[in-house]
Amino acid sequence: MTRAPNRRGILTGVAGLLGSAVLGGCDRIAGSDWGRRTLKLGEDANLFVQRLLLTPTSLAHEFDEGDISPRFKPNGTIDPPDDGYKALVQAGFATFRLRVDGLVEQPQDLSLADLRALPSRTQITRHDCVEGWSAIGKWTGVPLGEVLTRARLKPNARYVVFHCADTMEMAGGGLEGGDVAEIEAGDGGPNGRPIRYYESIDLTDAFHPQTILAYDMNGKALPVSNGAPLRLRVERQLGYKHAKYVMRIEVVERLSGIGDGRGGYWEDRGYEWYAGI
């Protein structure tokens, strides 16, 4: 005896079909141009609300010595494969010069000793990785505002870009650390051009009192795994904004000319530029 299809059976079938169509559809939406733009609306709203609520001087919570994590988890690049960087490590960073240029009146080349001679700030803060974990560390460094004030920004300056030493991948498709010689072959090598880590923030965050170029972590010189000799701390944003191995600071009017134009290595790969949430 054949059973007539009942309403419930039909409904279950339709729901199942709809379910799988929705799931497949979601990926198609996320893959399309308008879908990506629509999905981004949520983050645009996040940025808008944070800009509304955060004053330029709202501080990230600062912790006590006792809260410091026993091990500050190094993440991302922990040992840059680049020869240029390895030479700096060999020299104990004595030859390191932080280049500050772009839209500034007075470009700077600052050694670690120069940076340490500038006013410093120490803060114990929580580092929140976009993956979900947190670690607390004590950071000492020079407020970025001090450096930028010395370099004197031109009127059209809007963003501060941090160029880092570590090669993440080769533009031709090679992998990080795959072949150091190839990476050093640089532009036009058989494996293409090295893509190094970079990040950017706007002037609001650049002149925030807790935004520092840190050279010490937990009272000792910053170790290589955590970004020696200099890393950015921009405490009201997620971990990937805190560029490690900072070699050059470039002040620009717009981000479109750098990397893929979205303001950072991870931003070029789909992560939001304003990483406050």
Partner: protein, 301 residues
């Protein structure tokens, strides 16, 4: 309805009347289904985000060596890969579901399986985009629901038990255990446990999701010290995960009870607004009674 024409004087006549009542205003119905879509996307994209670091901690920072819970994989003594969930010192084999599951025909080490995460493949950046967009939709939808619900009195009617209901709480529990739900006039209002569970979800769990979510944001932390409410950012993340589980549990029970307490009537109610209640009228022996007399003059069709 079906009444015999010849009857003895002591015969009782039972008449069952189907009465249409307008139960769910349009705003409530729209909010309900929008909420369903939002919570589904939030759950699935949330699991995608969880997969980026599938471990939970308590306090401000992560204690990587001693997570409260970790979803991971290892090898058995025979060298076979297996998925495991570790809670404190206990390990549960969850191969196929958690820690190790099949994605595109291949055994893949991932906390939650591909079929329940959005996107299906590992993609934290896109998962976050889905999560934040639908968090906004959920928030705005919830706000409209609350404003409308409070203004119209609907919310109170739906989530606050009346005095007599509180007195008969035991009865409501018994009804749920035996799956026999009120009929007739009593079915016009939500039952006691139903109201209490909606109350907990609307007043406690959903706002908790919003607060624990914001507590994870370093940006919002500089505006409000939200992590302190929960004992730190990692605690807030753990509470976010636990409340997610409670909401999933609520949804499962909710759907099950919708199904056993008159699936079509309930569904029709939440789609069209119209709900049928059945009242049984028993005539007194010896008295003449006809169904037409108790006819309900309200909205009907």
């Amino acid at each position: 309805m079906a009444a015999s024409t010849t009857r003895r004087p002591d015969e009782r006549i039972e008449t069952i009347r189907r009465r249409w009542i307008f139960r769910h205003p349009a705003v409530i119905r729209a909010a309900h289904w929008i909420n369903l879509v939002c919570l589904a996307v939030l759950l699935m994209s949330g699991l995608q985000i969880f997969n980026a670091h599938p471990a939970l901690y308590w306090g401000s920072a992560s204690t990587f060596d001693a997570p409260l819970l970790a979803v991971t994989n290892d090898e058995t003594a025979e060298g076979a890969a297996r998925g495991i969930v570790r809670i404190g010192d206990h390990t549960v084999d969850t191969t196929g579901w958690l820690g190790l599951s099949t994605a595109q025909g291949q055994a893949t080490g991932r906390a939650f399986p591909a079929w329940i995460t959005l996107p299906a493949h590992q993609d934290l950046a896109t998962g976050r985009r889905w999560h934040f967009l639908f968090a906004w939709a959920f928030f705005i939808n919830g706000l409209i629901y609350l404003i409308y619900g409070i203004e119209s009195g609907q919310l109170r009617r739906r989530i606050v038990p009346q005095r007599d209901q509180i007195r008969h709480l035991g009865g409501s529990i018994r009804e749920h255990l035996t799956l026999t739900f009120p009929k007739g006039e009593e079915a016009r209002r939500y039952n006691t446990l139903q109201k209490l569970s909606y109350f907990v979800v609307i007043v406690l769990l959903l706002p908790m999701m919003l607060l624990t979510g914001l507590a994870m944001s370093p940006g919002f932390n500089a505006v409000l010290p939200l992590p302190a409410l929960f004992g730190g950012r990692q605690s807030a993340r753990t509470v976010h995960f636990i409340v997610t589980n409670l909401l999933v549990l609520f949804t499962l029970v909710h759907v099950a009870l919708v199904l056993v307490s008159g699936a079509w009537n309930n569904l029709r109610g939440m789609v069209t607004g119209w709900f049928v209640i059945e009242t049984t009228k028993t005539s007194d022996p010896g008295k003449t009674s006809y169904p037409g007399k108790t006819s309900y003059p309200g909205k009907g069709r």
